[in-house]
């Protein structure tokens, strides 16, 4: 079974490093990014399954980052990390395709639970894709051509 790979995005460096350490100790593979752009850069080179994304960040904020992630990497699950005051942006995030949200200050245990949940969802999705793809392999080249032509 594939191992979950997480990415933490927050402007608070110490939060990133500590949480990374904690999660690593629990056996998770964790990347960190201190801004939206950095997160997008990392996503280009790394296969990340779940992103924990702070809503309120300087520069590119959480919602913008979320939209960019969903646009470029639709399969990546995003969990919004929000203060209570920004709960509305959390709702907005959910509407824009975030999987879930966490309220600050949050427990590492909560992060793990939500992340596992999201990862499970992702795996279900990937399985479905694999099944669908394996069916396509069985089809003739003409059928594939017709299908793709029909899509055009």
């Amino acid at each position: 079974m594939e191992k979950m790979k997480m990415m933490l995005v927050d402007d608070e460096e110490r939060f990133l490093s500590t949480t990374q350490k904690l999660l690593s100790r629990k056996g998770y593979d964790v990347l960190t990014a201190s801004s939206g752009t950095e997160a997008l850069d990392l996503l280009r080179t790394h296969n990340v399954h779940v992103v924990i994304l702070d809503v309120k960040m300087p520069g590119m904020d959480g919602i913008e980052t979320l939209n960019a992630i969903k646009r470029n990497y639709p399969l990546v699950e995003v969990i919004m990390l929000t203060g209570h005051g920004t709960i509305d942006s959390a709702v907005e995030g959910l509407k824009s395709g975030a999987t879930d949200y966490l309220t600050k200050p949050t427990d590492v245990q909560d992060i793990i639970e939500k992340a596992e949940e999201a990862f499970g969802k992702r795996q279900v999705l990937e399985d479905k894709i694999r099944v669908a793809q394996s069916r396509t392999i069985g089809k003739s080249a003409r059928e594939i051509l017709r299908e793709t032509g029909g899509q055009k």
Partner: protein, 566 residues
């Protein structure tokens, strides 16, 4: 009790409220009195003038008639006959039939010798050549004398006529009964003190005066006499005793006598005096009424103004409090937000330490010891305190939450029972009797259901806390109700019989972070959040409480406009 601005205002209102109507009132009374007295005076004077006119006419015609009687005798009887005693007696009797005022009748020759006489005295042969009347009658042909004593030493007056016939001159004279004449003049009655009398040109009484003044005395009152015979003169004058009289005088036409009619002024103008008394009475009563009403109304107006001012002050302080609360809320929100990040870091650090410690323990690097358990206890405490901080910041953020409420009309008749049902169980467990008093006429309010629910639940929870702290689990009462208030307002009330709020606490009850609960039990934000919600709905929150008796929270909200259509 009275503050100076009100005292001043009161004085101004009072003075104008008294002066304006009182001036008008007195002016009207004065004008009325003036015209009334003027008309009464002129009518009194007109009356006395008419009386004097009538009276003069009567006296004049009496004298004219007596003169005419004598003329008739002269015309009808020749000298011879008059000189005859028997015949004269006959004539005299006829005259007396004509008028009983003829006392005697006498005939004189040119030289003034009394030739013939009929009457009570013995006057035949007496010489009257030097008598003033005789001289006058010779000169004028006819003469009415003033009252004089004459030979008989009795006041009397005579009418004498001269006749010339065939070079012979004789004179017929008759005495008029003074007493009868006197009565004739005197018999006039005007009011109580009205009287009439005659004066000759020298001011000698020709008739008696009822109020004193004998025949032939000099009138002690020196008064203006009309110069000619032109009409009647009226005037006011004081007599020697100081009584003021209204006089009306006129000269007789047939004789140089002045007819005087006079009446004491007080008597003549007694209606005037009565009117004056009534007017004084009315002035006092009316003035008293005006002053009384002015005092009453001024008191009422000033009290009302005082009340309005107090209300306005209260409203002003409420507004200030509301804006302060809003500022505080904003500040608190920002503060809570900034606190959240460090809290998050602390929490992570704590978790890391925790995990490292457990790992070390597992490996056996940290043998169990007292210090270790103390560290663990301390760590647990840090976790607890971080959670507490988190709870506080969350409450603050809830308080300052800027989210858009979903506004709709809420029918309280259904809504309040719904919300109340949420706490039914809790109330039952705590032995609280829950009563609903939502009037069917309560109009709907306009607001967010969730927010209003938050307010109500907060009030219920506070009430139940207060009840249990006083009664324990028995004997609590919680009444929740709603009703229409005047001016399109709706009142929701939550009344408990709990421990109550002290006056000092009452002032701070809506302030953020104010709580009477033990440390860690309450954030002190509940009521301030409620206050914020109700303010945004355009309403106000009030509290009425007595320590040891209970507390009532009133939420007053504007009724939804829709209600007006029903």
């Amino acid at each position: 009790m009275e503050r100076s601005p009100y005292a001043n205002l009161k004085r101004v209102i009072l003075v104008s409220m008294i002066l304006v109507p009182l001036t008008t009132f007195i002016l009207i009374l004065g004008i009325g009195y003036y015209y009334f007295t003027t008309s009464l005076e002129s009518s009194t004077i007109a009356t006395i003038k008419r009386i004097v006119e009538d009276h003069r006419h009567m006296i004049d015609s009496f004298l004219t008639n007596r003169k005419a009687n004598l003329e008739f005798v002269l015309d009808s009887c020749p000298f011879k006959e008059l000189a005859d005693s028997e015949a004269l007696h006959h004539v005299f009797l006829n005259l007396q039939k004509e008028s009983s005022t003829f006392v005697d009748l006498g005939l004189f020759n040119r030289e003034g010798i009394h030739i013939n006489y009929q009457g009570p005295y013995k006057l035949v042969g007496k010489d009257y050549a030097e008598a003033p009347w005789f001289k006058e009658v010779l000169k004028k042909g006819h003469y009415i004398s003033d009252i004089f004593l004459g030979r008989r030493r009795m006041p009397h007056f005579i009418i004498a006529l001269k006749r010339e016939e065939a070079g012979k001159t004789w004179i017929l004279r008759s005495t008029i009964d003074t007493y009868m004449f006197n009565d004739l003049v005197k018999k006039i009655r005007i009011g109580k003190t009205g009287e009439a009398y005659l004066l000759n040109a020298d001011g000698i009484f020709q008739t008696e005066r009822r109020s004193g003044g004998n025949l032939m005395d000099k009138d002690p009152e020196v008064m203006e006499r009309p110069l000619s015979h032109a009409g009647i003169k009226t005037f006011l004058e004081k007599d020697s005793r100081g009584n003021e009289y209204l006089y009306a005088t006129t000269w007789l036409t047939g004789k140089n006598w002045l007819l005087v009619v006079r009446q004491e002024k007080a008597d003549a103008f007694r209606f005037l005096r009565a009117a004056a008394y009534i007017i004084v009475l009315v002035t006092f009563l009316g003035g008293g009424a005006i002053v009384g009403i002015a005092f009453l109304l001024t008191g009422r107006i000033v009290r009302r103004m005082e009340r309005l001012d107090t209300e306005r002050e209260a409203l002003g302080s409420q507004l200030i409090r509301a804006s302060r609360l809003a500022e505080l809320g904003e500040m608190a929100t920002g503060f809570a937000h900034e606190i959240n990040n460090p809290l998050q870091v602390m929490k992570s650090e704590h978790a890391l330490i925790d995990s490292i410690v457990s790992e070390l323990k597992e490996k056996g690097d940290l043998p169990p010891s007292e210090s270790l358990s103390e560290i663990e206890d301390s760590m647990a405490q840090i976790d607890l305190q971080i959670s507490r901080c988190g709870a506080i910041t969350q409450s603050i953020l809830k308080f300052g939450r800027q989210s858009e409420p979903v506004v709709e009309d809420i029918a309280l008749q259904e809504y309040i029972p719904e919300i109340t049902a949420m706490v039914e169980k809790k109330a039952a467990v705590q032995g609280i009797a829950l009563t609903l008093e939502v009037s069917e006429e309560t109009p709907p309010v306009h607001g967010d259901r969730g927010q209003l629910q938050q307010v109500l639940l907060n009030l219920y929870n506070n009430a139940m806390d207060a009840i249990t702290s006083r009664h324990g689990a028995k004997g609590g009462e919680l009444v929740v109700g709603a009703r229409a208030k005047e001016d399109g307002k709706v009142e929701i009330f939550v009344r408990d019989n709990g421990s109550g709020i002290s006056p000092e606490d009452k002032k701070k009850i809506f302030s953020p972070f104010f709580t009477t609960k033990p440390v860690g039990k309450g954030t002190g934000l509940g009521l301030s959040v409620c206050y914020g919600i109700i303010s945004k709905m355009g309403g106000i929150m009030e509290v009425d409480s007595e320590k040891g008796v209970g507390t009532t929270f009133n939420v007053i909200l504007p009724a939804a406009k829709q209600a007006l259509i029903h």
